[in-house]
């Protein structure tokens, strides 16, 4: 028996984690090479839910593309759509009413909070804290109700359209958002009490899964994961769009680069998002909720690129147009795909149980990887 155990400790062996593993949060397969409990290498196998969205976009009009970018990172559906809409508007030189910019910025930030809430749920659950899961989902519900009331959709909304919004906000929108902010400011402190200082949680995340700043830049790890390593990559700050140059907010940075740093960046980011919404919610100007656009949009010939800050990092849309009603080529730069490429570098040398915590702290959404 002792011999067998020693054998297992010394031998290198392969194990499949996923594609149906709860901690991969979707259909992602990781092939792990292990010695004992130590991870020697991680090889992600993607493509289980690849839908060929880039190819599909080549035969869709610009208004129709919105309905597919919703389905990339479905937790930042608004933000992905924002990128496509802004690209088209900038290419055509459309000037948007202030009202549209206000509503879009508020919706983006609500989507960011909802996304980080769901991340907090699953982060807790991956570490065995099931209460976090229930608390997070409970507090996310009001945001989904706000979305449903104004847009008709809870998860994916297709609310933005080139030139503005599909429909105006619900009359009760402002009150509901303010109620939510009041409620969530209290709850987020509760989150900290419940999980952030928990002994098991801190021991499993502090000093574990370290990504240096240099590697974060080289791997293109953006969003809260990159900022946990000290990489200043907030597009809202460095390439402001919509109203982000008019509101005051801090770019949250940590320099430790471990799982806990990525955790605390997201916690503080939720507070910053609440600040941004608070600055805007009372000042939404009256006016139109969209500009009249031609029914068939044709972008002038050329190549366009638009960057936005999605909940998980930098999202980019590249469109090459030949002046027709369909784009010639669409490329979607998804944050999760680049973040995934750093996984081996972060996880090798760690224990297999910590890989779950590392994966949770990187916050993958698989449809965004597989596009």
């Amino acid at each position: 028996m002792a011999e067998i155990i020693q054998d297992i400790q010394e031998q290198e062996y392969l194990i499949n984690m996923g594609p149906q593993h709860p901690s991969t949060h979707g259909v992602l397969r990781l092939v792990l090479s292990l010695r004992g409990e130590t991870v020697l290498s991680v090889q992600p196998h993607c493509g289980y839910i690849h839908r060929g969205i880039e190819k599909m976009c080549e035969r869709l009009t610009y208004q129709q593309i919105i309905h597919l970018t919703d389905r990339l990172d479905y937790l930042s559906a608004h933000i992905n759509n924002h990128a496509v809409c802004m690209l088209v508007e900038n290419a055509l030189g459309v000037e948007l009413p202030e009202r549209v910019k206000y509503i879009r910025t508020i919706m983006d930030e609500l989507a960011r909070i909802a996304s980080h809430q769901l991340w907090w749920c699953s982060f807790g659950m991956d570490l065995g804290a099931l209460t976090a899961f229930f608390y997070g989902l409970r507090d996310r519900e009001p945001i989904l109700d706000i979305f449903e009331e104004s847009t008709g959709g809870r998860l994916i909304q297709s609310y933005y359209t080139p030139g503005g919004l599909m429909k105006d906000i619900h009359p009760g929108f402002q009150k509901r958002v303010k109620d939510f902010i009041k409620m969530f400011r209290k709850k987020i402190n509760e989150y900290d009490q419940l999980l952030s200082g928990n002994v098991i949680m801190t021991q499993r995340t502090q000093g574990i899964g370290i990504l240096t700043e240099e590697e974060a830049i080289s791997f293109g790890v953006t969003g809260p994961s990159g900022r946990g390593s000290g990489f200043e990559c907030d597009i809202r700050k460095h390439h402001p769009y919509s109203l982000y140059n008019k509101v005051e907010f801090k770019e949250i940075l940590r320099t430790e680069g471990d799982s806990f740093a990525r955790y605390s960046v997201r916690m503080d980011e939720m507070r910053e998002s609440l600040n941004i919404i608070e600055q805007l919610i009372d000042n939404i100007p009256a006016g139109d909720f969209s500009v009249k656009m031609k029914p068939v949009i044709k972008l002038p010939e050329g190549e366009y690129y638009q960057r936005v800050e999605a909940a998980r990092g930098e999202f980019g849309v590249f469109i090459s147009s030949k002046g027709e009603k369909y784009p010639y080529r669409v490329k979607l730069r998804s944050p999760n795909f680049s973040n995934l490429s750093a996984l081996h570098s972060i996880a090798h040398g760690q224990k297999i149980a910590d890989l779950v915590a590392i994966g949770a702290s990187l916050d993958y959404v698989i449809p965004d990887i597989d596009r």
Partner: protein
């Protein structure tokens, strides 16, 4: 650095480069065999310091294939677009840049998978999304599949 200084710098690295200003980003086009040396100089020079590759996309131009690199410097805050066209459409090959920017390892595998551009010296040149035995490269304009693509 502003665009004029960047243009001068790029031309000092690679005199044959074609630099175009006035587009969304400064755009440099170079021959496919100059890619790796130019990329390395752009990354390593203190004045340019392009340390962040934020997008890499393959292109099918119809009669040729190519790759577009979107670069940014995280401390100097300037951007550059690097455009490369492969010499041969039948056997498109480029040098890898994943020794310069590690993110390129996955991004180049994606380009190989969907457009069939091969990258020299890449440590792990396999398909990333599709099956190993998939026939053809779906993002090419001449790709046809009667079962999946509805015309």
């Amino acid at each position: 650095m502003n665009n004029e200084q960047l243009t001068a710098k790029i031309l000092s690295f690679e005199p044959s480069a074609e630099v175009k200003d006035g587009l969304q980003y400064l755009t440099a086009t170079v021959a496919f065999d100059k890619l790796h040396t130019l990329a390395k100089s752009l990354r390593e020079s203190k004045d340019t310091n392009f340390d962040y590759l934020f997008c890499l996309t393959g292109m099918d131009y119809g009669d040729s294939l190519g790759v577009i690199y979107y670069l940014e410097s995280t401390n100097l805050k300037h951007q550059l677009v690097l455009k490369i066209v492969c010499a041969d459409k039948e056997k498109p090959v480029l040098d890898t840049v994943c020794d310069i920017w590690k993110t390129a390892e996955f991004l180049e595998r994606e380009v190989f998978d969907l457009l069939g551009i091969d990258f020299n010296n890449h440590p792990d040149m396999r398909r990333i999304f599709l099956e190993e035995d998939w026939v053809g490269y779906p993002l090419r304009k001449d790709y046809s599949d009667n079962n999946i693509i509805v015309k």
